[in-house]
Amino acid sequence: MKLTRRMLMAASAAAIGLATGATAQDKTKVGFVYVGPVGDGGWTYEHDQGRLAVEEEFGDAVETVYVESVPEGPDAERVMTQMALQGADLIFTTSFGYMDQTINVAAKFPDVKFEHATGYKRADNVSTYSARFYEGRAIQGHIAGNMTESNIIGYIGSYPIPEVIRGINSAYIHAKKVNPDVEFKIIWAYTWFDPAKEADAAKALIEQGADVILQHTDSTAPQAAAQEAGNVITFGQASDMSEYAPMPRVSSIIDNWAPYYVARTKAVIDGTWESVDTWDGISTGMVGIGEITDAVPAEVKAEALAMKEAIAAGEYHPFTGPLKKQDGSDWLAEGEVADDGTLLGMNFFVEGLTGEIPQ
């Protein structure tokens, strides 16, 4: 039933796009496919900020269209096809679950450029781009490990995909480093955006003793649930979520897509676009760390900022050995740093995390 509504929404949004698209022929048309509503206050909100930055930068030279709340499934393919048929020159597909659909549609429209966020499949006209969110997760883990009093940290995961697993591992490694007794309780919500469910998940974790909630879902609902419960800290996800500062939100990971979107649109306008694989982090500003509030003790804040500097300067990698996998086998030797290939396909927990990754 849910699918029907989304399909209809997508269809109507696409129809609106069709209506406005007919007028502009010489403009460069840039399309965006969003997994949630632009007002989610998190992931999709930041992508839309990137879209607005493109409009601001190029003014009348570009036209942007977007379709929001597109489910990750066959329907996404239809939305992308429609965008391509309407004359889009460049299409950003902004969720992991659009990967195969993006590749399929790109094969049918060789002249249209596609950019898929957080995936790993590329083609001549498909680039991938992602941000090293795990760098920010390391800083969150450090703060969380220091601040938890119950030693239970709740983690709301969306889907068991490498991007999310990386974040859990990174946060856990750094929480454990400062607090050997720390325990992670993980809930897989199987959704990117469902405020009621996200709030329920946060409440379940809090009721089971968690006093820190980390989320990898898109809405601010867990923040509201934590605020309601009191004495629980959270971190803004994808967007600053500063409306929940200074408590419960004590810091955040901010995705800044704007420079990338502007650069890639410029490449299409200039005719220099090529298929690339971009994976940037704190050093280029694609991953930002939101202000650490005064709820965090000063020395913890200083350590967190020092870690941020070290990561930005390339002196510290959050996945540095010695590290073992959950089953006790060796992963990284002393001083060894994880390679990008392993990180991109990460499908295992590190030693100490309990629970299995759903397959």
């Binding site: 509504r5 329920d200 998940a201 809405s219 299995e356 759903p358």
Partner: protein, 306 residues
Amino acid sequence: MDLTAISPALLVASLMVAATPLLLAAIGELVVERAGVLNLGVEGMMITGAICGFAISVETGSPYIGLIAAALGGAALSLLFALLTQFALANQVASGLALTLFGLGFSALIGQGYVGLKPPSMGRLSIPGLSDLPFFGRVLFGHDPVLYFGLALTLATWIFLRFTRAGLVLRAVGENHDAAHALGYKVVRIRILAILFGGACAGLGGAYISLVRVPQWTEGMTAGIGWIALALVVFASWKPGGLLLGAYLFGGLTVLQLNLQAAGVAIPVEYLAMSPYLITIVVLVFLSSRRSLTPGSLGRIFHASN
């Protein structure tokens, strides 16, 4: 695995909270469908209620005024549906879907200034002595008033449909509108009242999400609960009792599976995640397998000249 981490009282309390918006929206739709009208706009009316309730609560500082506004907002949107289907004789399925699309867009528009605000708290019932009882105090006497209202409304709907003359007339209109018309009942008027009631209930259900369950305003925050409510009405065979069971099963399993995950129970997460949908459907289909109670005139257009 650590099941002791789950507190039964808190678990039952949260599952009741999770079930309430579903119950409210579904009981409204049940009355609408028993009157022979299929309104697929539940999701749209819920989200409209969610933002109306949230906005008015924030502006006035009173969650109760907000709830009234939510009911009015949902009813106002359903009035649009009533005009389209009862006077313009438009197709009910198409009008309902349009209502959902409109509600989602409209709520996003008026909600823009309310992102990130905290609504005034509803407060929980507190009866000295009773609310302090172990387990039962929290489960039976420790909720917000809307939750009790939802239960009372379900009971009242059951009594209304089963034991009152007005309920009989409403059912007659839903079973065979031509016959009801021939008997002199005002089919259109009765249906409009039913639609308004359905809209008000859906609005309340939406406001319960934005004021109590989450509590915040986010665009599209009902995220499909209206559709679940619609499905529930069918699976409950248009019976209030079945609806109550279905809503509590679905809400309960949703919360329970999250708790089991957090406790690290060794059941594959995929099965846990699908359990609310699967178990609710199986139980309700099993309960209603003997006969179908589909209102005879459901979804059909009525005009006195036919």
